[in-house]
């Protein structure tokens, strides 16, 4: 992609994402320090919860959304080899999302929206927080439109031809996000905003939680799909090999999108407002969505195995050592998969219906999602950044060795941070506490783990700063050397010439999703309108 206008668009998105990221890392380190109780000067419940709310919003909404939008534009232009449809609209979407972010940040940073990023009605925040978050989502909807129109136009211009895998997956993600965000959009538009402005007296927290659960699971796949795209379309080439199976990749993306949606109730296992049959149904669906990840693991590792063997690796496992560990993308995928093993296992435990009682709302849960989001997902965002930055700014990467060090420290920091978190969870420490004040024998055993987490957070903060340093140095370097790299998408071992339409488009899947959503959310949402429910009035905090 050599078009300066599009490069600027992509870079703007990615910079917003990574600046949000480093700020959030700083807040994260403050939080582990505060919680340890080692530094009485830092103890402030108000600052802590304002910080947690901001950390969550920056990481989960700002970093992800802006990264996904920027990366999506890049993939659309580079994989389809055509200019972006409607560049001005893309800029409008960027500015709407950015204004929304700033609007939400003001109440967050001033402690007027300490409701954490999952909102928690009937506690209400300042209306600006909800309105800002809504604008961020509206901005991302425009991105979805651009992606889907681009996808449709290319297909029309190339009848029968398989859509390049990277674009297929990006379009899948756009479709997923439209479905995903509908739940929280309903909650915010019909419940939270009118409630926070005083237009309605009460809301039903049970309904609000159900709507949020609609969004809460697939949103993590929205974040994860760019990582899987990198797994499939960048990693095999960078490792010196080929994609093991293009078709299975498509199958995996489709199953991911279709089954990520109707399963949100594993967030509500411990809630009283939904019945056990619905919970069990969603629970089984949750296990189904583990399948595409198992398939992805196989396809990606098989691609790596072939690359390793092409590089001279022998024996059952000799190919692992033969891989180019000094290629940032390859190193990142290895570390990412390692974290996926443990993060994925934690997820299976969470998903296990009644067993959820063992870990629900304990420290295990943030341990789990930091490992799988901060670890598996974000390390690939970083690897993508290292890969794209030279292409976007036309200068070579500032330092490959520093980049490798950054990836290693991110992995090590994440391991140090999340291991104690999991243990604390099994010991029963609740999540979302700013200090441990409980005066009980059972809770005294928690202290040493808190100290380990400070160290982990510190390593991660250092690593995040190093990332920003490398990216900035790359971009600001004097343009002495001309960099003439091209983006390289991996080719499959067996070229794909024709595909059944359902592996090349989403028309039928969109209908399948509609049916599944109607089945799994229809009654659980409608019940609130048939039961005698008692709404809650607004509370502060």
């Amino acid at each position: 992609m050599n078009n300066a206008a599009e490069q600027k668009l992509v870079l703007s998105h990615l910079w917003v994402a990574f600046i949000a990221f480093v700020v959030a890392c700083l807040l994260g380190e403050y939080q582990v320090l505060e919680r340890s109780g080692l530094f009485p000067a830092l103890d402030s419940t108000r600052v802590y919860f304002a910080s947690v709310s901001t950390h969550g919003v920056l990481m989960a909404f700002v970093l992800t959304t802006f990264f996904i939008m920027g990366f999506g534009y890049y993939v659309a232009v580079s994989s389809l080899k055509q200019p972006l449809w409607n560049l001005p609209l893309a800029w409008i979407s960027f500015w709407i999302a950015l204004v929304g972010t700033v609007l939400a940040a003001i109440p967050l940073l001033t402690g007027n929206a300490s409701v954490l990023y999952t909102f928690y009605p009937p506690i209400v925040a300042h209306a600006a927080f909800y309105i800002g978050a809504t604008l961020l989502v509206v901005g991302s909807w425009l991105w979805c439109v651009i992606m889907l129109v681009t996808f449709g136009q290319w297909k029309k211009a190339h009848p029968g031809a398989p859509v390049p895998l990277a674009m297929f997956a990006t379009a899948a993600n756009a479709l997923l996000w439209l479905w995903t965000s509908a739940g929280v959009a309903l909650e915010v538009l019909f419940q939270l905003i009118p409630f926070s402005l005083g237009w309605i007296d009460t809301i039903d927290p049970g309904l609000a939680r159900t709507l949020f659960a609609w969004t809460l699971h697939p949103i993590v796949y929205f974040w994860l799909i760019p990582t899987y795209i990198a797994f499939y379309v960048f990693v095999p080439k960078q490792a010196g090999g080929y994609l093991f199976s293009d078709e299975m990749a498509r199958v995996a993306f489709i199953v991911l999108v279709v089954f990520a949606l109707p399963i949100g109730f594993h967030h509500l296992y411990m809630d009283p407002e939904q019945g056990q049959g619905w919970k069990l149904l969603h629970g089984i669906g949750t296990f189904v969505v583990a399948l595409p990840t198992l398939v992805t693991g196989f396809t990606v590792i098989a691609s790596l195995e072939i690359a390793g063997r092409l590089r001279g690796g022998k024996g059952l496992f000799g190919w692992i050592l033969a891989l180019p560990w000094t290629n940032p993308m390859v190193l990142a995928v290895i570390l990412s998969l390692l974290m996926l093993i443990f993060g994925g296992f934690g997820g299976i435990v969470n998903a296990s219906y009644a067993m959820n009682a063992m870990v629900h709302n304990t420290a295990w849960v943030p341990g789990h999602f930091h490992l799988i989001f901060g670890g598996t997902t974000i390390i690939m965002y970083i690897a993508i950044a290292y890969y794209l930055w030279p292409l976007l700014v036309g200068k070579p990467l500032f330092s490959k060795n520093l980049a490798l060090m950054q990836l290693w420290t991110w992995f090590i920091g994440m391991s140090i941070l999340t291991t104690p978190w999991h243990v604390l969870g099994l010991l029963g420490q609740p999540r979302r506490i700013s200090t441990v004040v409980y005066n009980n024998l059972l809770t005294l055993a928690w202290q040493p783990y808190e100290f380990m987490m400070i160290l982990g957070g510190l390593v991660l903060l250092g690593s995040a700063c190093l990332l920003i340093y490398i990216l900035a140095k790359t971009q600001l370097a004097p343009a002495a050397e001309a960099f003439t790299g091209e983006i390289e998408y991996a080719t499959p071992i067996h070229a794909v010439s024709t595909l059944p339409e359902y592996l090349n488009g989403f028309k039928v899947w969109n209908k399948v999703i509609a049916v599944l959503m109607a089945i799994s959310f229809g009654f659980p949402i409608l019940q609130f309108f048939f039961m005698d429910t008692f709404g809650s009035s607004a509370w502060g905090y």
Binding site: D43, T435, S537
Partner: protein
């Protein structure tokens, strides 16, 4: 249907054995009644309150005359309307006892209580006399005491002592003598119109010394 259920819920206590701490429940209807309080009407009604609660609703400290202690009178200026309203209704219903106030409140309608609450809520809070603030009080307000399961005061009463929804009273500028005697009354369970003993359980954990220090702290809070 909902209204019917509400009526049922409200009528059941009459059948129950023990009295609830208060008859007031913050249903949306009740909250709206307080919200619609007319401050102008409240102002007229409040004329007769001035002799005890002061021109500006600032209250009075305790005084000793001829060896007899005249108890302190609470500041009402800037108090949450929901709180004032609930106290007036609790006095009227006999859930909170004070000879003078029980008599007065019985003669006030719900609407009067709501108007008065609105009027006092609209007055600016006054800041009381200064006395040295103890670090222990500041710590209790900001951090509480985990060992005794005492939450920090600010978590409910606000970081500026401004009170909190639904009916957590504002404490900033409150008469120290009144503050102390109220907490002592909670401690001894002489006052018991806190639903589920919320404040009684806290006050029981506080020493008399701590209560006095907190009283000084809050009187000076702006």
């Amino acid at each position: 249907m909902k209204r019917l259920l509400l009526l049922l819920a409200l009528s059941t206590p009459l059948l129950a054995n023990a009295q609830p701490a208060s008859q007031i429940a913050w249903t949306p209807a009740m909250l709206n009644l307080v919200k619609k309080g007319n401050a102008e009407k409240g102002k007229q009604l409040a004329e007769s309150c001035k002799s005890c609660h002061g021109d500006q609703g600032q209250g009075l400290k305790a005084e000793t005359q001829d060896g007899e202690t005249i108890p302190a009178v609470p500041a009402l200026a800037g108090q949450l309307a929901t709180y004032t309203f609930k106290q007036l209704r609790d006095y009227a219903n006999g859930d909170r006892s004070n000879e003078t106030m029980n008599g007065i409140a019985k003669n006030l309608s719900e609407q009067d209580a709501s108007d008065l609450a609105a009027w006092f809520g609209s007055l600016p809070r006054t800041v009381g006399a200064t006395a040295p603030i103890k670090a222990r009080a500041e710590k209790m307000v900001a951090l509480g005491d985990g060992k005794r399961i005492l939450p920090p005061c600010f978590t409910c009463h606000g970081s500026n002592g401004q009170g909190e929804k639904m009916d957590i009273p504002a404490l900033a500028g409150q008469q120290a003598d009144y503050f102390a005697s109220t907490l002592l009354a909670y401690k001894k369970a002489e006052r018991h119109n806190d639903i589920y003993s919320r404040m009684r359980l806290i006050a029981q954990q506080l020493s008399e010394e701590e209560i006095k220090e907190l009283a000084v702290y809050y009187q000076q809070l702006k």
